[in-house]
């Protein structure tokens, strides 16, 4: 039986069966769902294709209902095109795509929750930009999605992927860890290094507040997707350099759960604390009073 509920047991399975992380994650899903290898792989490809489509469907002139969000992905695209990009071409592109996806979500376009709608920009940004700038075969990116989902499953089971339960560490934090592992895989990391990358990413986001203005998936969510991307890239690079985390992956996830429990409810998607109760937020929300509902 291929079953894992911790990073440790996932890595043990990889060792026992002499397989890569993505293969074990795929195998476990086959056994659970009763589907064939091909069916499971194609289902994941469908998710990847939906991410590609969502990226293509970005509209630069769309604004969210509240007016707080829209157009920044296009600004980033123009900046990247101007040659003034501060970071690598890959990182610049990934930041642009994260903004676009987050904005598309806020503007009621079709996206893939990964793991949530609020954090839907991180994983596609890291993968789609990789495919575009490094000429990678699509199958490799689908495999990277299996890596990401295996990491996300363990976090969901042992901590949380809902901002209402764990704060933003559960959403952007988890997305960033999933993306870091996927990116490390694409760059040829071994199984251990993949999990180190995920661990760095998660550690860097522990304790993050979920304090959206007006309760809307807009501020700070959209721009925080960019932070999740950059964090994933730096975490993958740390792991690829052979650097290891002092705290084990499972201990990190464990502390994420404890921090989530310790966070006051005003910082867990209630909009009763943090950025949501600032003067700037109050002014915006006053202008945006919902009249017709």
């Amino acid at each position: 039986m291929t079953e894992y509920h911790s990073i440790h047991s996932l890595l043990d399975l990889c060792k026992e069966q002499e397989k890569q992380v993505w293969e074990v994650v795929q195998q476990a899903d086959m056994e659970e769902s009763g589907a064939t290898e091909k069916q499971v792989f194609e289902k994941m490809r469908f998710m990847y294709k939906a991410m590609q489509q969502a990226d293509k469907d970005y509209e630069a002139d769309l604004k969210s209902q509240s007016g707080m969000v829209g157009g920044d992905g296009e600004k980033m695209r123009q900046f990247n095109a101007s040659g003034k990009n501060l970071c690598s071409e890959y990182s610049g592109l990934a930041m642009e795509k994260a903004l676009k996806m987050g904005e598309s979500n806020a503007c009621m376009k079709r996206i893939v929750a990964a793991p949530t709608a609020g954090s839907c920009g991180v994983i596609p940004a890291v993968l789609l930009s990789y495919e575009e700038s490094k000429n990678t075969e699509e199958d490799e990116l689908v495999k990277a999605l299996f890596v990401a989902s295996g990491i996300g499953k363990v976090v969901a089971e042992n901590a949380s992927i809902a901002g209402a339960f764990g704060g933003c560490q559960a959403e952007i934090g988890t997305a960033s860890a999933m993306a870091a592992g996927a990116l490390a895989y694409l760059q040829g990391a071994d199984n251990e290094q993949i999990m180190q990358a995920a661990t760095f990413a998660l550690k860097n986001m522990l304790g993050l507040a979920c304090d959206p203005v007006g309760g809307l998936v807009e501020v700070p969510c959209v721009k925080r997707n960019v932070a999740g991307v950059v964090n994933a890239i730096s975490s993958a690079q740390l792991a690829l350099a052979g650097i290891t985390s002092v705290i084990t992956p499972d201990d990190t996830i464990d502390s994420m759960r404890r921090i989530g429990n310790d966070l006051p409810s005003c910082l867990k998607e209630t909009s009763k604390g943090g950025l949501a109760v600032t003067e700037s937020a109050r002014k915006i929300m006053e202008r945006f009073k919902a009249p017709q509902i």
């Binding site: 994650v25 899903d29 659970e32 769902s33 289902k43 994941m44 998710m47 939906a50 969210s64 209902q65 509240s66 598309s104 979500n105 806020a106 503007c107 009621m108 376009k109 079709r110 996206i111 893939v112 929750a113 990964a114 793991p115 949530t116 709608a117 609020g118 839907c120 994983i123 999605l145 299996f146 990401a148 989902s149 295996g150 996300g152 499953k153 969901a156 089971e157 992927i161 809902a162 209402a164 999933m178 007006g214 309760g215 809307l216 998936v217 807009e218 909009s271 945006f288 919902a290 017709q292 509902i293």
Partner: protein
């Protein structure tokens, strides 16, 4: 936890609870009504009311009433589509005591004049609970084939329903009984493992003491 709950679902944004879940509530309500919606009064409560506009909760509910799924591209323009179809819509605030923060109360009238009153809750991650039908408490997710029988509170109706299901080889997953008062109106909510055949539902509709039968099939949703 399934890996496709971590990567997925494909949905129209911005929120799995306020948008995707709201589409599901509308969709289940439309299925339970059993015919196209002509008139809908949509009342919102709690966080649905406070942040519903920014999350497109109103559009999402209407999209569901039109039979759309959470990944339908047309969700943002659902209200225009409903108006083109001649669906009469009104929105307001639901006055409820201590309800779930993401609650919608729907009053529906179908093309043949059939009515349905429903309270739906969005629990997060796109999952929902139908908490009330026609004023009587219920508790089901709409993820399984669900048979809902409104009847007079008198002996024999439970056995009529279970015998019919046994006869049609339908296995019962869960069964709940509710009533407004002793001898008053009662509701049976039966979640099944298999689809309930149409002739079984028609037979029930004709049974004495049965006021109304609504059915939520699984296939219609896929």
């Amino acid at each position: 936890m399934n890996i496709f709950d971590v990567i997925g679902p494909v949905m129209v944004g911005p929120s799995s609870s306020h948008t995707a879940g709201a589409v599901r509530i509308g969709f289940v309500a439309r299925q339970l009504l059993g015919e196209e919606v002509r008139e809908a009064k949509i009342l919102l409560y709690g966080s649905f009311l406070a942040t519903g506009k920014g999350h497109g909760t109103d559009k999402a509910l209407v999209a569901g009433l039109l039979g759309m799924k959470p990944d339908d591209y047309r969700i943002p323009s659902s209200i225009d589509i409903a108006e083109d179809k001649g669906m009469k819509l009104s929105f307001g605030e639901a006055v409820l005591k201590e309800a779930h923060p993401n609650t919608a109360q729907l009053y529906l009238k179908g093309v043949s004049g059939k009515t349905l009153e429903l309270i739906g809750q969005s629990l997060g991650g796109g999952r929902i609970n139908i908490a009330e039908i026609d004023g009587i408490e219920t508790n089901f997710s709409g993820e399984n084939p669900t048979l809902i029988v409104h009847n007079l509170d008198q002996p024999g109706h439970v056995s009529e329903v279970t015998s019919m299901l046994a006869h049609k080889s339908v296995n019962i997953a869960t069964m709940q009984l509710y009533r407004s008062a002793k001898g008053g109106k009662a509701v049976m909510v039966v979640e099944c493992d298999q689809e309930v055949p149409k002739e079984g539902i028609r037979w029930l509709e004709r049974a004495e003491g049965v006021l109304k039968v609504t059915y939520l099939g699984k296939e219609e949703e896929k």
